[in-house]
């Protein structure tokens, strides 16, 4: 019954060293700090979090656009975290990426024909004479046409460019696509077009998505499972409907409650978090959320919480749910949520 696992991430870490000058110690920014999750074939798995939480770095590290500091990336049963550049290249026709900024991710000096031909040429996909036809097909699927072939990216609007970016990713018929904030740079009325396109493509080509976004309403709409990230760590994972119906981690609760209402009559009980996200270069001790958590207890400042499974793959890392004292406090918090 359980679908096959396509991608498995085990204890992934990505630290960046930032030089502070000759006489100061380098600081280690823990962009991704020991995260594990797995993505099943055919599903849309979401990484959600605020800026700086490490969700984009996670996506880039999985695709080896930047090298992991530690941990394992298992794609189709094969460890890829240490593959050299050229072996990794061969694998890239199975895993592709859609970028956030449709203006920056297309080479301004290349025509659409060149942009879409490149992946086919690099991976020697389809016989040479069929490639153009495949490109035209793909353009039609994403809502553009043959006559756009010899235009340059600057001649298109943001939405159209994002379609081109998606076409480039899908034309190799990969199994897996990482979409890093694919709609957040687009106009509202264009966002829904691109979301529809991604849903259509998933159905048509049986794609698996890792969908990285900060937009909770989009995530709620189109993903199957969600991992919530905060300061480089995953704090909660659950099926999408379960997560939105029954968020466990105080951060997830605050995040969901912060989404603006969709109708003026809607009444929403807000959990307004105080303060800012701490710097990932100097994360708080214990649970990294304790500085902003409305339910923070003594233990939260000292001990990092471990993952606790609730039901059917719903896991959260929070001391409120681990067995210890402070029962009163916890009960209050849980009832409150």
């Amino acid at each position: 019954m359980e679908a096959k696992t396509l991608l498995e991430i085990k204890n992934l870490k990505k630290y960046f060293e930032i030089s502070q000058g000759m006489f100061k110690e380098k600081i280690n920014v823990r962009a991704v700090d020991d995260i594990s999750f797995s993505v099943r074939e055919g599903e849309t798995f979401a990484l959600v979090g605020e800026s700086g939480c490490g969700k984009s770095t996670t996506g880039r590290t999985i695709l080896r656009l930047t090298d992991p500091t530690d941990g394992q990336i298992v794609f189709k049963g094969k460890n890829i975290e240490k593959l050299p550049y050229n072996q990794m290249r061969a694998l890239r026709n199975r895993m592709q990426m859609v970028f956030q900024d449709p203006y920056a991710s297309l080479n301004p000096k290349k025509t659409i024909r060149q942009i879409l031909m490149e992946p086919l040429r690099v991976h020697n996909k389809f016989p040479r004479e069929e490639r153009l036809e495949k490109i035209n097909n793909m353009l039609k699927i994403v809502g553009l046409s043959e006559e756009h072939l010899d235009r340059y990216p600057h001649e298109f609007s943001g939405g159209q460019r994002q379609r081109i970016g998606i076409a480039r990713a899908v034309i190799l018929q990969p199994d897996f696509i990482i979409a890093d904030e694919p709609v957040s740079a687009l106009d509202v009325s264009v966002q829904s077009q691109v979301i529809n396109l991604m849903l259509d493509l998933q159905e048509e080509f049986g794609l698996t998505y890792l969908f990285i976004s900060h937009d909770l309403s989009v995530i709620e709409h189109m993903t199957d499972r969600v991992a919530v990230m905060y300061l480089g760590k995953i704090v909660e994972v659950a099926d999408t409907e379960e997560l939105f119906a029954n968020p466990r981690h105080p951060y997830t609760q605050a995040l969901i409650s912060a989404v603006p209402i969709s109708h003026p009559d809607e009444e929403k009980e807000r959990i307004i978090l105080t303060g800012d996200v701490p710097s990932p270069a100097n994360p708080p001790s214990g649970c990294s959320f304790h500085t902003r958590c409305p339910f923070a207890m003594d233990i939260c400042r000292k001990v990092e919480p471990v993952s606790k499974e609730f039901s059917n793959g719903h896991k959260a890392n929070c001391h409120l749910y681990t067995d210890s004292e402070n029962k009163e406090e916890k009960e209050y918090a849980i009832n409150h949520s």
């Binding site: 000058g21 000759m22 006489f23 100061k24």
Partner: protein
């Protein structure tokens, strides 16, 4: 901040030492120095004797080590002509060069920054357009030619200023103007564009939205922001100024380091050339260093962590 200063200071030293190294090898590669002291028909054993005497028969790397060892102590040998201490001769010329360079720099800044600011403030008016045209032409005039033209008008025709020589304030006028002209043009143009750049920034709009009058906006807010790139440019251009000083000194027979260096190059008096290179590289590096510190000072993003 202190770390930054120490780090930059190390860079200064490294750069100066490397510059010396390069010139040392360049000179050695360009020809045998002993032939310079002796008549061209000198017998072979006399050449050998001379080489022995001056240590030129040792391996190049030993000579280099020896040279650097003495150079870092300020000993560049004696002038091949006057047999005086090379560094001493160079140092004695420094005040004259400083006099010229600093007065030119001051004049350039005093004229250029207000002019550039005004030009930006009155953008697209006749004043601005004439100003921009003048700066473009000004940047195309080589300083030595401007020097000649000034000599022609003020010394040859009007006979009110001396055509060359040094010593008095009167002598300083024409060389200073000559040297400052290019920098005036360049700094004015750059100040204008830096200013226009800043005036487009979001934070200027914020100040306007607070009701700050335009004059105050420019003089207090925009100016401080534009000073950051201006300082960088002025520091970079000090090289041009120092280079220009050499030529200006020759045109006006100004007794500075540049003219000395020129004469020594003509005479192939290499100890003086090396000492001169050392001093100029050192001055240039130090000035850049000061500019960096100044830059960090006006830019709180660097100053305050």
């Amino acid at each position: 901040m202190l770390d930054f200063i120490i780090k930059r200071f190390f860079q200064v030293i490294v750069v100066v030492l490397l510059a010396l190294t390069v010139v040392f090898f360049l000179i050695r590669i360009s020809g045998d120095p002993t032939t310079l002291f002796l008549p061209p028909d000198a017998p072979k054993d006399q050449i050998e004797e001379y080489k022995e005497l001056l240590g030129y028969n040792r391996p190049l790397i030993v000579q280099y080590g020896d040279f650097m060892f003495h150079a870092v102590q300020g000993d560049f040998g004696e002038s091949l002509r006057s047999q005086e201490d090379a560094l001493g001769i160079v140092l004695s010329r420094i005040p004259a060069t400083f006099q010229l360079a600093i007065s030119a720099l001051l004049i350039a800044l005093i004229i250029a920054i207000p002019l550039g600011v005004l030009s930006a403030y009155k953008r697209n008016t006749v004043f601005d357009k004439v100003g921009v045209a003048l700066t473009i032409v000004g940047q195309a005039i080589p300083s030595f030619w401007l020097g000649l033209i000034l000599i022609y008008f003020f010394a040859a025709q009007l006979k009110i200023l001396p055509s060359g020589g040094g010593g008095t304030a009167i002598h300083l006028i024409l060389p200073t103007l000559t040297l400052a002209a290019y920098s005036v043009a360049r700094f004015t143009r750059f100040t204008r564009s830096a200013m226009l750049d800043v005036l487009r920034k979001d934070y200027i709009r914020t100040s306007k939205a607070s009701g700050v009058p335009t004059f105050r906006l420019i003089m207090r807010y925009a100016l401080r922001n534009s000073l950051i790139p201006i300082i960088t440019l002025v520091a970079l251009d000090l090289g041009v100024l120092l280079g220009g000083a050499v030529i200006t000194e020759v045109v006006f027979s100004w007794p500075g380091v540049g003219r000395l260096l020129m004469q020594s190059l003509m005479n192939r008096d290499f100890p003086i050339v090396l000492a001169g290179v050392f001093i100029i590289a050192l001055i240039y590096a130090l000035v850049n260093f000061i500019a960096d510190v100044l830059y960090a000072y006006v830019n709180p993003q660097i100053r305050v962590k």
